[in-house]
Symmetry: C2
DNA sequence: CCATTCAGGACCGCGCCAGTCCTGTTTTCG
DNA sequence: CGAAAACAGGACTGGCGCGGTCCTGAATGG
């Protein structure tokens, strides 16, 4: 699958939405404007808060706001905040789970290179790169450069893999 | 989680093991030499066969052998063979599932860049790069070059993310 | 003092992967 | 020619984890 959790997808939606308003926003308001169910938005925002990506204000007239500019938040950070450290398999270093056949595992330690490569790719792309230009056409500052930072060299092989 | 299925992990083990013997090998033999349960090995090999990564010989004295050299098999191909096309979210192009809120989804189409970056990374690393050098020290042909192809530039940021 | 809003859990159902098994087909060997 | 060896291709099930909801408590503002 190599699929990330749905909550991560929601998190990106919510964070992007947060960036589109200067003031503070309630979880209910974000739910309304994004279409994501309110309890889910609340859950996402709580996680984002404890991860330090957004700042929260309790009490009446409270709400959430971004702790940092969108462009300084790599996708990797969002994924890690929700799903925990990126570890493709149990054999990867820093993994929480244990490899039961670690002593004779033939690929022991070899997934690390793969893991690092993926992490590197995810650290290159910021949330600002994922903002849809069509909906909110703003003076494109970072989008063009960052987009070029995404490797597009494997196009031929890549598209073949994508079926 | 961004975790790939256990079967994929097994597949790498099995394929590497296949490469370490010139002749044909039975699924039972591979199970014995790798420690992976035999039914699971059989399942993996059947998938690998239909994906064209290994060739099979039926009947008595039958078995499996690699269809191509290990160095020409990118990790991405193994992952795709087992888990299907790589699609991080439902919103990614070529994804099989449908995005229910596609029309007003704020990040519509934006995961594509992320997906492509990951796919590119996975296409760069071949199974030969994952062979443990400690166990079978052979004249290193492709290992050094390929290993350098794996981006190691994000080390500082990367290790920070890894918990 | 009350309404509002976040904090931090507990909780449950559903889907999906992992692992097994069974039946059929192909091939080799005695 | 028959029996054993080995792959082919499913069906089947159990467990685990995520998605989604809800509840109680704490903080804040009017």
């Amino acid at each position: 699958m190599l699929r990330l959790s749905k909550l991560t997808d929601y998190a990106v939606v919510v964070l992007v939405r947060l960036s589109e308003e200067s003031g503070i926003q309630t979880s209910g308001g974000i739910a309304a404007s994004t279409g994501v169910p309110e309890p889910t938005v609340a859950k996402v925002l709580k996680i984002m808060t404890s991860a330090g990506l957004v700042a929260s204000q309790r009490g009446a007239r409270g709400g959430y706001r971004l702790a940092r500019p969108l462009a300084t938040i790599p996708v990797a950070e969002v994924i890690i905040a929700i799903d925990g450290p990126i570890a493709l398999t149990a054999c990867v270093e820093h993994s929480t789970s244990v490899c039961d056949t670690s002593s004779l595992c033939p690929v022991k330690g070899r997934w690390d290179a793969v893991n690092t490569a993926i992490l590197d790719a995810l650290s290159t792309i910021s949330l600002a790169d994922m903002r849809p230009t069509a909906f909110f056409p703003l003076p494109a500052h970072h989008l063009p450069e960052k987009r070029d930072a995404v490797p597009t060299t494997a196009s031929a092989l890549t598209t073949a893999f994508l079926e």
